[in-house]
Amino acid sequence: MIDYVVQQTLNALSFGAEYALIALGLAIVFSIMGLVNFAHGEVIAIGGYSMMVMAAIAFKNPIIIIVGAIFAAVIMAIFLERIAFRPVRYADATTGLLTAFGVSLILQNLFLLLVSPRPIAVTSMYFLDWPIKLGTIRISSLQIFETLATLLAILLLVLFLKRSFLGIAMRAASLDFEMVRLMGIRANRVIATAFAISGLLAGIAAIFIIARRGAVDPTLGFNPVLKAFVACVVGGFGSLPGAVLGGFLLGALEVGMLVILPQSYGGMKDAFVFAVIAIILVWRPEGILSPQKEKGDKI
């Protein structure tokens, strides 16, 4: 019984790590420019497709494939910012959200048109996955890698934001974008960095997703991003700690629902998860860890 509890807790942790990783990518962009980037899922998919391409042209070295996939995701994220999101940079959040939905739709269908509507096997990341025995518990190395990678990513991100000039500028930008511009830091550079980081996180997520699924298809990123988006919202819009918290909370919630709900209601898992999300939002409309805005007299 203890084994079971430990096992499911570990599962919840690794589910949460994946959501947190993706949610962080969404949150960093949102915090800087208020954009809910639904096309983040397709950035993940680009990571997957680039692995497919690299495997097909006989790159066998896993390091090359990993670096290449992350690189592809970063380039894609920066490219999307330049092409689609820069024109709506100062528009309201709804315009940004709908633009992102549109971009997501275009990319999904481009994958379908240019590659295939069916899943394509990509097995080059299987090597990351082997069983590990911890006493009586067996877990997958992938779960550990994923949790560790997420924690590492968070740590590096915190260091970057606290120590580097660009990072400090980004933190300032998330509080008051105009001020940063007035200080002479180019908005383009700050935003491009935010997208590059989100692409980097998407690339890492892509590696773990592919390592587990062993296949890539056009809608690969849609569901994870929908969940991560929810995680972001629950944690608090644009709050990076909130995104991480929301991700792990959602992971726990999902595994918890599978464990708690009777099997005949297992299929309703999503309904329950989303109902909890709605309740949290009604309780705290800005999310759990939302940055509290100082209300001045300039209304």
Binding site: E294, K295, G296, D297, K298, I299
Partner: protein, 234 residues
């Protein structure tokens, strides 16, 4: 309307501290003070966009401290905004309608003709324009007309002359005089333009650092020592 000792803090900073005011029908009260004196905060407290930490607000002897902004508006508190807040996707006429629809929810009868006011403020031939097409001066007027369409007991004007040239300011003064003489309401005006304020107000309250430091007739105020200190500095 009466304010009873209201205070508001922002993260430890006293934005408004123990302010009491009273104003009646036909009065025009000027509210002046240096930047950050708490004038706009006071207006936001009166109209309900902010809630006071301490103190009560009465309108016609009714305690409205816990009322929501839209409820206060229907009871007769109308305002304009420091930064223009016109509805860009509505026509000029519809902008005014928004307020006159609200006035229908009130039991008070309208004791003036809205069309007349639209005429006085030179908006009659612009009524069907998109509000975005108005000049800055006309947008300022539109805000005042919109506020009047609420059939107010108290009209709060937050820097109505800001950004206007001398001519426009003069016209505005005349229009406000007309309002004072023809509409049964009290008016509170905030502005930096002391000449304008002195011209339209019959009573002036001076604020500094969230506190009322002086109150009285225009000529009394202009000779008040504390006021001079507040403006010029020590």
């Amino acid at each position: 309307m009466k304010l009873d000792c209201i205070s508001k803090n922002f993260g430890g900073v006293k934005a408004v501290s123990q302010v009491s005011l009273e104003i009646g029908e036909g009065d025009v009260l000027g509210l002046i003070g240096p930047n950050g004196a708490g004038k706009s905060t006071l207006i936001n407290l009166i109209t309900g966009l902010l809630t006071p930490d301490v103190g009560k607000i009465f309108l016609s002897n009714l305690d409205i401290t816990s009322q929501k902004p839209y409820q206060r508006a229907r009871l007769g508190l109308a305002r304009t905004f420091q930064n223009l807040r016109i509805y860009p996707n509505l026509s000029v006429g519809q902008n005014i309608e928004v307020a006159s629809i609200s006035s229908n929810y009130s039991s008070r009868t309208m004791n003036f003709d809205l069309d007349k006011i639209i005429n006085i403020f030179d908006l009659e031939d612009k009524i069907d324009l998109a509000s975005e097409e108005l000049s800055y001066g006309h947008l300022r007027r539109l805000e005042i007309v919109r506020a009047l369409a609420l059939n107010p007991l108290v009209l709060l004007l937050d820097e109505p002359a800001a950004g206007m040239n001398e001519n426009e300011t003069k016209e505005l003064s005349n229009s406000l005089k007309w309002v004072q003489n023809n509409i049964a309401c009290a008016i509170i005006v905030i502005d930096h333009d002391l000449k304008f304020i002195m011209g339209v107000c019959d009573k002036i309250t001076v604020m500094n650092m969230g506190e009322v430091i002086a109150s009285g007739k225009p000529n009394e105020i202009s000779n008040n020592k504390r006021v001079k200190e507040a403006y010029i500095g020590h």
